[in-house]
Symmetry: C2
Subunit: 352 residues, 2 copies
């Protein structure tokens, strides 16, 4: 008896219903049982089919996914790698992904890196060990050649093992769901310019993140096109969190009190900025200071004043990313998802 658990298993014999048992119960070969229950390409006669189905029902058969995975060398699991699932940005993406996964009868395994790129690599590796059907990278990468290369190597290995890969936002990985960070940022900056703001500040996320760099580039591009100035001291980097936003805003206004508008690179930070400006600094929004966010997470509309922000169709992005993976084919470039500036109460014309 090579496997000691077989003893154990005999004890709870009711629990471990195998295909074998079903086949015996139905009086057919296990090949036939397999064909009926896991639908191969072959047809099975009406009578036997019935018998097998009845037996499976009677015994309460549930297939053994690992065994199937081993035999078929493929699973129905997709891995989703995010920075932090409690962040509404990633939660929205995950929700979309899970919705699509349900349609495709896939299970979603989520791994949170908490911003650590090493962990991201480790998780891809782990997903490879799981023989996940695909991995979906949701978070922005960092602009580090070494890390990028190591991740790429891991992804290649994953693909070599037959897995698919997709990601949200451009990241040097194909296929991906395009997200126009730059364009959205340009639009936001342009809006501010049109409202008459000339001295704006930027509350940015971690400097290394590609997403941050893109959004920042969009702002810079728009600003210089319009003829404005954006000195480095008006751009402050912090964590992509509420307190990061609050502290960054405080720092920004301490150094540059004359700023009339601040662009936060995501809504969570914007919430912090709003708190800093109104509660800590006692300035009114939007009369004295305008604030713009990014992402349009669900609570943006509930901030006071409600937040003007760049809407990113996050749920849809999540869905698409899964489709990309599931549809087997076409890593065909798709139309970028529409980003739009949602103008709400936190922005207004610059004070006379």
């Amino acid at each position: 008896m090579p496997n000691p658990r077989s003893t154990t298993r005999a004890t709870r014999s009711t629990g471990a219903v195998t295909l074998q048992r079903v086949a015996e119960h139905a009086g057919v070969s296990i090949a036939t049982a397999s064909r009926v229950l896991h639908g191969g390409t072959r047809t099975v006669g009406e009578e036997l089919r019935r018998k097998v189905e009845d037996a499976a029902r009677d015994l309460g058969y549930v297939s053994n996914a690992p065994a199937q995975a081993l035999a078929r060398s493929s699973t129905s699991v997709v891995g989703l790698v995010v920075h932090d699932i409690a962040d509404p940005y990633f939660a929205a993406i995950a929700a979309g992904a899970m919705r699509a996964a349900k349609r495709h009868r896939l299970m979603v395994m989520i791994a949170a890196t908490f911003g650590d790129p090493e962990l991201e690599i480790e998780y891809v590796r782990s997903l490879r060990a799981q023989r996940a059907r695909a991995v979906l990278l949701a978070g922005s990468g960092v602009a580090d050649p070494d890390l990028t290369a190591r991740l790429a190597a891991e992804l290649d290995a994953f693909r070599a093992d037959g897995g698919r890969v997709s990601c949200i936002g451009e990241r040097g990985v194909e296929p991906y769901v395009p997200l126009d960070h730059t364009g959205g940022a340009e639009r936001a900056a342009t809006e501010l310019w049109q409202l008459g703001h000339r001295r704006i500040g930027v509350v940015a996320g971690p400097e290394g993140l590609v997403t941050v760099q893109r959004r920042l580039a969009g702002i810079r591009a728009a600003w210089s096109r319009l003829g404005g100035e954006l000195p480095d001291r008006r751009v402050v980097f912090a964590d992509f969190t509420r307190s990061g936003g609050r502290e960054a805003a405080l720092g920004l206004f301490a150094a540059e009190p004359g700023v009339t508008a601040v662009l936060a690179l995501n809504d969570v930070m914007a919430a912090g900025v709003l708190a800093a400006v109104q509660d800590d600094l006692g300035r009114r929004v939007p009369e004295e200071v305008s604030v713009v966010g990014f992402d349009d997470v669900p609570f943006a509309v509930d901030l006071r004043p409600s937040l003007t922000t760049v809407r990113l169709p996050l749920e849809e992005a999540g869905e698409r990313a899964v489709q990309l993976i599931a549809d087997g084919a076409s890593p065909a470039r798709q139309a970028p998802l529409g980003v739009a500036l949602v103008v709400r109460g936190s922005t207004g014309p610059v004070a006379g």
Copy 2:
């Protein structure tokens, strides 16, 4: 050649590094290789150990989790069943769970039921097929005997197959992480009473949810203990969403304009209530109407006025639930996690 993929695999022979290959490369038996790489109980001599490790590294070996799962009949996957991962309540629980999972080197598979109890059962079944090590039920159940029984049956089957189960909040499933919904609700209601409110309204979630019933029971208990009245028409049920909260509040005030305070049964609904009261109805909070939420999700503090709410330690609950599962032992009853009323700006004394 029984398996057609073996042909395919031969093609990508670089990708599929098996233990077998590692063993050959190292010049040892696969038993030894297994012992070195997957740490059995037996010791392996220094020299061979080295050889195996080198071979594994050179070849880029990654173990095949499904194969291991089959051989050991156990995995390192835990399933987490939530209603909706985009809801900050569940996102927080998930974040905690994933943090703990990382410590225990477990992978988390998340399934979203979108409130459908049938789906919940289906997912438990699916997790059973995956031979998940455990399943963690995060959402509230519905108070339906049939559904409850069927879920219980599925969970028993899961356990019979060797899986563990735990859940957040009492649900007739052991072990569980106690969450004092009732006590929290009592505290919130009491606070309102002490502020002088006598005519309060409740904006509740779906009537069938056990959590909703508990919270409601807490409010009713406190209210009747204090000597107040809470007629049914001042309790309105709706979806646990922002728009559910908004519409419910609108309905509540249409029927009972004299209400001076409303208790929303979660913060997301409270955001909707705040919008309805201030924007749609034009009443001031807290001067004319006080609003209390539940859960203390991250954005509660950013609502205007910032939301008075009952804090539930959600992340911690998620962590504990995973620990319960991982610690093998002790389904010992633990001290309930502390709930606390966080008084902020949305509540005030009843208008003279």
